[in-house]
Symmetry: C2
Subunit: 198 residues, 2 copies
């Protein structure tokens, strides 16, 4: 079917993908923009996976102070080149992540950052709760990963649902940025201070 240049333009703006890729995506999805975005994201993610190993030595320190200054966040968002670090969309991604941390108070960047004892403690709590419910060992084995996933989605920044678009996790937002910029991007660390808080 015919694909209009407006559709291609819109898709390019939304995904940052190349013109021919956008044209093909629209053709393959019957010019359904949402489906084309998914089509490209899947392609983008495939590219992003390859990029994930690349060294991210550049980046930006981003801070956000909320309202009257009772809560504040600082984070390090890394990329591969200073060219991307100085892109305003890269900074916008950083600001969005800072807002997320302010609002949703994650404790760690990802599950790798959770201290081993804390992880084991949570595992044993979840196991004990399932045993109390009368679940058998093999059932517990099946249910446990889901319980831990929920736990990660609460305390790990990258597994939280975005406060702007709760159909995506922060990890997915970063993956989209990786596809868009063509560089590996990582959230290295953050600190969230609240007056009188932890």
């Amino acid at each position: 079917m015919a694909v209009s240049s407006e559709q291609i333009k819109e898709l390019r703006e939304r995904t940052g993908a190349g013109m021919m890729d956008c044209k093909k995506a629209l053709e393959e999805t019957n010019a359904d923009i949402e489906k084309a975005v998914t089509y490209l994201r899947e392609k983008g993610l495939a590219k992003a996976a390859k990029r994930a190993g690349r060294d991210t030595g550049e980046g930006k320190i981003i801070s956000y102070i909320h309202g009257t200054g009772k809560t504040g966040v600082i984070l390090e968002l890394n990329c591969e080149t200073d060219f991307v670090a100085n892109n305003s969309d890269f900074e916008a991604l950083g600001k969005e992540i800072a807002l997320q941390i302010t609002a949703m108070n994650p404790l760690y960047v990802n599950e790798e950052s959770i201290p081993k004892e804390e992880m084991e403690n949570e595992l044993s709590i979840q196991k004990a709760l399932l045993e109390k419910e009368g679940k058998k060992a093999e059932q517990i084995e099946k249910i446990l990963p889901g319980k831990m996933k929920k736990y990660y989605s609460e305390i790990c920044l990258v597994h939280q649902a975005s406060i702007r678009d709760n159909t995506k996790t922060i990890h997915e937002l970063v993956q989209e940025a990786i596809a868009k910029f063509g560089e590996n991007i990582t959230i290295r660390r953050f600190a969230r201070f609240q007056v009188g808080g932890q």
Copy 2:
């Protein structure tokens, strides 16, 4: 001797002390503004010492991003009331401390925040160096506190010389603020992020 109202006004602006205290300070110091400031600071410090135990549950989170965003700092500056927390001079103190942290890269707020192992390690290094110089045990006992003081002045924020006025430490700047605001003020914590750095 006669003290002019202009002198009292200037001293009040510089120290935040009361009118009668400023008048007395100028009379006692032969209207020498610098000496009067010292006189009041000594009085102020005496007051501050009494305030040091008071609870500082209010305050502000302050951040500073340097230049192109390669270095950033966030800190929590505490006081006793929201009234002081919202004073622009309180925020200015916070900004000054943020600049200090950016430039001088302290590792800890004060000596109490230094991990015990690190402190002991430094002590044993300094001891070994003095022994290597051929110093006797009793000499080492006398020299060691000075060596440790130098070490604190490098790695502890409050013991660093201010980058704005190197005749004062950050601790002294905070003490001045305590005298000025009439409230206990504490630097609770900070984080300093540098792209690719520690």
